[in-house]
Assembly symmetry: C2
Homo-oligomer: 151 residues x 2
DNA sequence: AGCTTCTATATCGTGTAACGATATATATAT
DNA sequence: ATATATATATCGTTACACGATATAGAAGCT
């Protein structure tokens, strides 16, 4: 069915995955550098983004941020500690449930994040096609229905 | 032109970016867990993938891996040290240029990577639509040509 | 009310991975 | 032969994520 090629199916999948991760790393690396240039650590940037980018109905607590960042809640506690200390966000006790801490960006946090968001939008617009292409290729190369006979 | 909405343009961009990063983190988290389940550290997995997934013409050296992983070469040296110690890959001196180390997977490395590749292909196939959608939205929301009047 | 259990956040100690600065070996150019 | 460039390696430091554990408040039960 498929045209003959020099490389095996499994080689093809590896190459495709490698290419996808390469593109991804390039984006993430860009993002890390952009955050650093703005005086943030990459994770602080991600925290601010998830806090400020939450839908309005959400109560933005530590647990919410942890879920959005795929982190354990106590990792976020530490991230919030650092970020609060640096004046990027505030933590206030929720009056309706005093166990909870509600997170909110400071003016400064908003400013920094705003600039980063613009930079990221521009960069992503540029690399979106390559990422999308790599994604599509994976969908195609993972075609074989029964567990592949790879070796 | 655009239909009226409750949220500002900048809020919309933040939400879109937050959603994209959320999807991305979910994938990366899946990948981290898959690697750990296979007995690898996430970066070892990435190293093996870039080594085994390189086009045939490439001489896979430390420097090549560093570029593909967006890491400094000495970070890769350490990664290779660990991986070699664990029998995942071999490092042999290039005879044509004895400064260079040539990287190659061991049989065991190939086996482990092969399994991970299959898992990733399946997972990516499933989340590709959501990622692609988020990507597309960013392209659209980053529409405004002159530097936005955000803030 | 008191008691238990659950949930949300916080603290402590540990391991890992990335980095900058620096060193060494080999290759290349003059 | 000497200088310069390139590839890899070593060392010390820092940040960040985690597991284990602790504390405070909320919710449910009798």
């Amino acid at each position: 069915m498929s045209t003959r090629s020099k490389v095996s199916d499994s080689q093809l999948l590896l190459r495709t995955l490698a290419e996808f991760r390469y593109e991804l790393r390039q984006f993430l690396h860009f993002s890390e550098r952009a955050a650093a240039a703005a005086g943030l650590q990459p994770q602080q940037h991600q925290l601010l983004l998830q806090v400020a980018g939450a839908p309005e109905r959400e109560v933005v607590t530590i647990a919410y941020a942890a879920e959005r960042l795929s982190l354990r809640h106590h990792s976020v506690v530490e991230l919030v500690n650092r970020s609060e200390r640096e004046g990027l966000l505030t933590r206030t006790v929720d009056m309706r449930d005093r166990r909870r801490a509600i997170l909110k960006l400071t003016r400064m946090g908003e400013l920094v994040l705003g600039r980063l968001a613009g930079d990221h939008a521009r960069e992503l617009k540029e690399m979106a096609p390559r990422l999308a292409k790599a994604l599509k290729r994976i969908g195609m190369s993972a075609q074989d229905p029964a567990g592949s006979k790879t070796r």
